[in-house]
Every structure is written in structure tokens, then in C-alpha cells.
Symmetry: C2
Subunit: 511 residues, 2 copies
Amino acid sequence: MSIHGKNFIGNELSAKGDKSSKIYDINSGDALNGDFYHATSDEVSTALSLANSAFLVYKQKTQNQRADFLDAIAEEIMNLGDELVVRTMAESNLPRPRIEGERGRTVGQLKMFATLLRDGSWVEASIDTALPDRQPLPRNDLRKMLRPLGVVSVFEASNFPLAFSCAGGDTASALAAGCPVVMKAHAAHPATAELVARAILKAIESCDLDPGVFSLIQGKNYAISTQIVTHPLVKAVGFTGSERVGMILQQQIHQRAEPIPFYGELGSINPQFIMPNKVNENGAEIAQGLVASLMMGQGQFCTSPGVWVVIGDGKSENYQTFITSASEALTEQRAGVMLTPAMCAGYNAAVEERKTLSGVTLLATGQAGNEQECSASLFATDLATFAKSPLLQEEVFGFSALVVRCADVAEMMQFVSLLKGNLTASIHGLDSDLAVSKELSLTLAHKVGRLIYNQMPTGVEVCASMNHGGPFPASTNIRTTSVGSEAIIRFRRPICYQNMPAELLPSLLRD
Amino acid sequence: MSIHGKNFIGNELSAKGDKSSKIYDINSGDALNGDFYHATSDEVSTALSLANSAFLVYKQKTQNQRADFLDAIAEEIMNLGDELVVRTMAESNLPRPRIEGERGRTVGQLKMFATLLRDGSWVEASIDTALPDRQPLPRNDLRKMLRPLGVVSVFEASNFPLAFSCAGGDTASALAAGCPVVMKAHAAHPATAELVARAILKAIESCDLDPGVFSLIQGKNYAISTQIVTHPLVKAVGFTGSERVGMILQQQIHQRAEPIPFYGELGSINPQFIMPNKVNENGAEIAQGLVASLMMGQGQFCTSPGVWVVIGDGKSENYQTFITSASEALTEQRAGVMLTPAMCAGYNAAVEERKTLSGVTLLATGQAGNEQECSASLFATDLATFAKSPLLQEEVFGFSALVVRCADVAEMMQFVSLLKGNLTASIHGLDSDLAVSKELSLTLAHKVGRLIYNQMPTGVEVCASMNHGGPFPASTNIRTTSVGSEAIIRFRRPICYQNMPAELLPSLLRD
């Protein structure tokens, strides 16, 4: 299938803007086929108008109709076959098993929301019937349910070209909620986006939906992003990416006349707490486990364990065992290609900067690779240095971790008080650590979205009990999750109907 | 009980700042006893620190313990007896039945949240147990529930000195959620706030809670408000008031390093749609009903019907009957004292400004009163004028309404497309209007928080199915309600626990 590189403005292919520069396959050095056209302001306006018109029809579709649509998208993604896998591998530098797994996750998410829709209970329907004889005042008939917000704008993530991208979790939950989606493709994997958009378009056709329900905006153009998030027709924005870019979007959204929810999932250092007896008994084992978790996807996961908090006086044998094991394990790790050359440069710059920080020691570096590859790195510092270095709370996107040595449990608690918001934290402890772990967990829970015991943070299950969010900067909206079935509520809001005849009620609120 | 006028910083009475000017009883002209002390920056800091310390203890209380606390507050408010009623009447110029009713509502809200807590299901506990044998990957044990955000700042409303003030809906829902409250008293009713704060303090003592759970900040000082909403320890803000003040707070909150939810319930014109056959058959009756709803509390309700959309060509007999009946009914209405002299001045200025607008006609004015009283007013305009006059979408706080004449249903739909967000809208129709009403309701529902059929918007039931919110400017947070049991979720957020031993789990998430 040749790549046309055009924008999907509803079901129209549109190429009014400039061509972007070609994208090269890092591994082969070949230019990937296809030129991509930066969307113009007109194209964006048209996409948003089409989406808004489509909203008025799409929101009236039954839960089953929307469920069928999501299932159809899942089926059409699988119908893209190996071409999607090969193309995504080339654009992301991620290996086949990872991409095949991510495709499974993407399809699984769509199907999960389809199941949720067919169940129906998620709309939180509430009915208080009239009490005409109540004293001192009668009660009117009041019925409430969650209804869709309107047009949703979603930005593709760099690090999940399928599962957090064109038909990823934000899109699936918005479409499930009854909201049309205007998607901004990520410039790192535009052909992947195009292939998935074709799948969505096929599903729109087979389900006989208004094509304004989905548009794909190509190109790397900050003005276009600004236009989208400040447009009056956009009623919510979903974004997964860096704190820097996320906060630019947030500031622009703050300028709107009408406030709208911004669901930004930004940075996280995912601190790992190794409790005193755990480091004494299993120091080598936990160190190796942490290195293995850090290496997943070259550390390019939002839940990558970036900071390891360990109790030790710097000379104790157990602490040294942990440090030595971690360093040895890391030194053996192979270099790897990052998602994009820009991310490789960014990672290397962050590591070099860290090397210059007073009070921070480089413990180990992974194997060197070729010039397109990056090497893992492990640093160490103490609590006092961490406390005075805001830079050390910033996420290094990639496989670099920082050991923070705490003299005792009191210092560990002090570390928690300094901590900004995170997606996750793990407590690694033995039964004999439980009392201290409990004390830690009571405050730590309020700094994270997900608190983990004796497991690594990488691996985010898609289920009802998942929470992928948390205090800022993990998320710009602490009350919501971007993974799992609860993600749908981000794009819904309550509407109350008072004294309505059945004909004017949504069908789920009728007697 | 003499009024001391001091700030409640936890359970310490504090008066470090300047005294405010005395407040006079408009009806008697007497100075109300008590000087009030503007809180200082230090006092505010102390209150917030105490609240944050209290949070760590208060959040661990059981649902039953928090329920007992809310019940105790309700009981202590009733124990204040008639002094509270008399004082609130004097400070608000509202009549005894209204204040007694509002006290009942306030106490009822506290008891409703107590019942909700004892039920427990509202925490949305979700448990996905481990599936160690699942292929290709095992599932970890994941459990999630809603947990409190932290310290909540609440601003008292002018127009509900009890039900949306010191122990009103925001306080009740925040305390129920497990969040300490730092309350900013409204300068219009500081003694009412003091009396209610005493009741809360007694309840804190009888329930043996950390007194940092509640503080009351007195005085009218914008720097203090800024300090509160931008303070890092504050995790959410509740506000009911004007769009102007609400947006000042919103802009300040936007400057924070950590974004937090701002629950501002601001302006609403609550449009009333009189359908074609309704105006033909029951024009006089509906006109009188609208005037009666408008007059409630001198129109100082957030759900006051401020705009009436009627189909007519300006000459048709039915439209004239409606207009004549409305004008006659309004002309008979007695003048009334507003909540404060400033509101009286603001109301009169808005009415005078409206009189000068080209295309806007003054239809009727209510009876004149003394110099402390305001008179009701009724204006009319056509759709074209409404479309080009942004001022006409702004709420006039008080008993002034605007009839917008639409030539036909198409113009009525055009009115809806122009409409900003509102708390409520009502459709008044006959069975023969149902087809048109249905079309109208499908778009109108997305402009409001509550859609009403053949009833007036005033009267906000406190129940599970209520939604008191809506698109901006009705609310700054479209996804939440400030009235009814669902208000509690504004101060909670999901936390997921993975692979946690029972000892480290919140009790509601244990097997």
C-alpha cells in the first residue's frame, strides 16, 4: 500500500500545505516512502467543523452502534496485516514483538470500550422520580446521566505509535463516549498514523457513520496545534508527551474564553523505594530487577523506574552490594536506538548534564553502540543533593536512573515530602519491612496515581482498576486516568433532565 | 452570643489584622454588633499548614467517623437556635421563612453526605484480582478507589449565607470526601459565618478530630484570596459567585506551578423557551409563572429565569397576550432590598445600561420602593439584537428579565446556537409542541447542566440525580455538580494499588 501523506479531513484526502521533509529509517538509512503534507489552517478548520456537525448525529447513536464501530476499527487494524507492523517498526525503531504486542493492546482497548458500551452501566444513569406529596415541598422528577462533551482533539504520543496514537486509548475512549476526534499525527510516525486512519475510515464507511467523526491532521507545525486547542469547537484535549510541550498546550488552553479539560499525561520519575530489610536480604536481586525494568524499550516508557531510593550510609556492605550489582548489571546492557534521532540527542544531553552536577556520581554506563545508538546510565546521589537540585526531579526520557541514598527511614520520608507528582511508585520490602512500608505508603499514595508493592512499574494493565494519571506533572488532571475503562469519563459530563416526557429523554433514562 | 469577629485558625481565635468597617442592618440602620478582623498573610499560612497536617490524620478516619462528624455539625447548627436565623436575616436582608428553609437545606446536605458515607459504595472501589496463569502475560492484582485530594479552599457565596457558605454544600462535600477546608467568609455576612464556624468547631471537639480540619478566614482582602488559591498546599478550590470574580481567581490558579481543579459556579441566564402552541394556548398563564419565578429572592438565585425566548412576529395577538400579561404581572411586584447595598447599586446600573441599548425595549418596571430598595424590570428584544449584543448574554444579578422574540422555530434554534453555557434551561410546551421541543432539546441539552420541561428553573433539589453545573460560564468545570451527592467526587481522585498486602490497603479495598 503506497503512502499518500495527505491529511484526512473527514473522508476527504487533502494536501493543500507544504510537504514535510522525508523520514529516514535509522536502521537502513533508506528514505521511507511517502511525502507528508503539513495541514493548513483551512484544513484544520474544515476538520473541526465537520467534527462538530458529526457530533450532533454521532451522539444520538445507540451504545450498540458505537460498540460496533469500535469493533470494526479493531478488525480493520488487524486487516492492515503485516504492512502496519513493518511500517511502525521502521518509523519507531521498536522491535517486532513490541509492535505486535502494542497492536494487540490497541485492538484490545477498542474491544474493551465496545464491551463497556454494550454493558451500559458506565453512563451512571440516576433516576429520582417525582414525589408530588412530599412535605414541605414536592420533589420533581429528576434523571441524570453522563453525556458526551463534543469534539475532542487528541495528540499522538511518540513512544506508543499505536496504543497511544491514532486509534489509541484517547481516541477509543472519546469515540466510545460519543465524541468525534480530530487527531494530530506525531511527526515521528506519520505513515503509521495514515495506515490506522485508513482503517478508521473503513470502519466509518462500513458502519455508515458521518465521516466527520474522525480526521487526521499531519505535519509538524506548532501554529496548527495552537489553532486546534484554542478553537471554540474543541471541548476537550488529550495529550501524552513531555512536560515541556504539554505545558505549552496548557498555557494556550488557559487563554481560551471557554475553559475546557486538558488531559495531559506528562513526566514521571516513578520512584522505587527499597526498604531496609529488602536491601539487606535481596540487594543484588532487586538491583538486577530494577535494571531489567529500566531497560524496557530503552527506558522510553512513562512508567520507567527513573529514581531508586535506597537506605544506606554509603559504606555499609548491603548498600554496596546493591550498588555493585546494579552497576554490573547495567554495564552489560546493550546500546539501543531511540524512537527518533531528536530523542537520542535529548537523552545524551540530559546524561551529560547530569554528569556535571555537583554531588551526583556516575556509577555505570551501558555498552557503547554505533553513532545512532544510546547507552544506558546509572547515577547516584544523596538526599541533600536531591533536595537542592530541581533538575533531578525531571524525567530523563530514556534508560537512565538515579540512586538516591537516604541515611534512614526518616530521610526516606523526607524524600517523599520533596517529591512532585508521579504516575507510579513502588515499595520493595520484606514482611519484616511492613510496619515501615505502611507508614511510607500513607503519604506516598498521595504523590502518585498507582502505588505498587514488590513489583516493577513498567507494564500498565488495561482494566477497570487501572489508574494511569496522578498529581502534576504526571497528569494535568489528577481526577482522571488515561488507561483503562474509566478513561471514558474524561469525555462525558452529567446532564440532568427534569420533568421530561419520555419522548424527550435519552432512551437510557426512560422508565 | 456576642460576636468576636476573629479568624478561626484551626481552634485558635486570631485577630492579628486590621478591623474591617462595621456592617449595618439595612432595615433598622443599626450597626450590627461585632468588629471583624481581616486575616493576615501569616494567619492564612498557619491555617493552611494546620489543614495539611490535619489531612494526614483526617483522611485515615473511617467513613462512619466522617459521617458522625457531619451529623454533629448539623446538630450544632440547629443548636445555635434562633440567634443564627436572626443574625443571618439581618446580614442578608432575606426573610425568616427563606433563612429557616435554607438552614434546613444546609443541615439536610450535611446529613445526606453522612448517609452517603455510611453507604460506602460512592468510593467506586474496583478490584481486579491477579490472574497468574493468564497468557501471554499474567495480570497483577489491581485495586482502585477514590481518595481525597488534600486541603480544599472554599469561598462563601453572597446569595446563600448558609447553604453555599460556611457549612454549605462545598464544605459538606469536601469534609465528606476526607479533605480539610479553609473557608473564606463573605464580607456580607461575617457574623453568620462566625456562628456556623463555632458550630463546626464544637463538632470537631465532640468528634475528637484534629482542629486543623477547618479554619475560617475573615475580611475582604483580595491579596488573601490570591494567597489561598495559589498556595501549594491547596489542592482544590470551590467558589460560587460572579463571573468577574470567578475569572480573577481562575487566572490566578492558572499561574500555579501545580494545576488544581477550580470549581467555580458563575453566571447563568437560564433561558426559558415558550413553544409556539404553548404561547398560543397558555400565554397569560406562562407569563405569570415566569414573573413569579423571577421574583423569588429578588431574582438573586443562580437559576433565576433571566431570558425568555418566545415565538411571535411582534404583532400577533398571542405574542401580545404573553407580553401584556407578563408586563402587568411585573408592574404589580413590590420593590425589595437586595443582599447588599453594593448589589443594589450593581443591579440598578445594569438595568440603566440595558435601557440605553439600541433594539432593547423596557416593557415594564415593578413598584418603586424606598431608596434602599430595587424594582423589578422586564425588557424585550429581537433575535438580531440579541445576536449582536454580547452584553445581553451576561447575567443581571437580580429580578430583571429579557424577552427575546424569535420569528419562528428556526430563529429559536439560531438562538440556541448563539447561547453560551447555562446552569439550566426550560422548555415550556404542549403535547402538540413535542416534535419541535424534541429537536430543540437535542441541541439545547449541550448548552446546559439541567434541562427542564414545563417547570421553572428556580428550586434546586439536593439529590443524586441533580446536576448544578454546566458549560462555561455556568461552571468552570463542566464535568461536575456543586449540588447533590455527586458533588463529593470533586474532591476525590482515583488511586490504584498494585499487588498490595492487605495491611497496606485501604480497608475498603481488602478482600
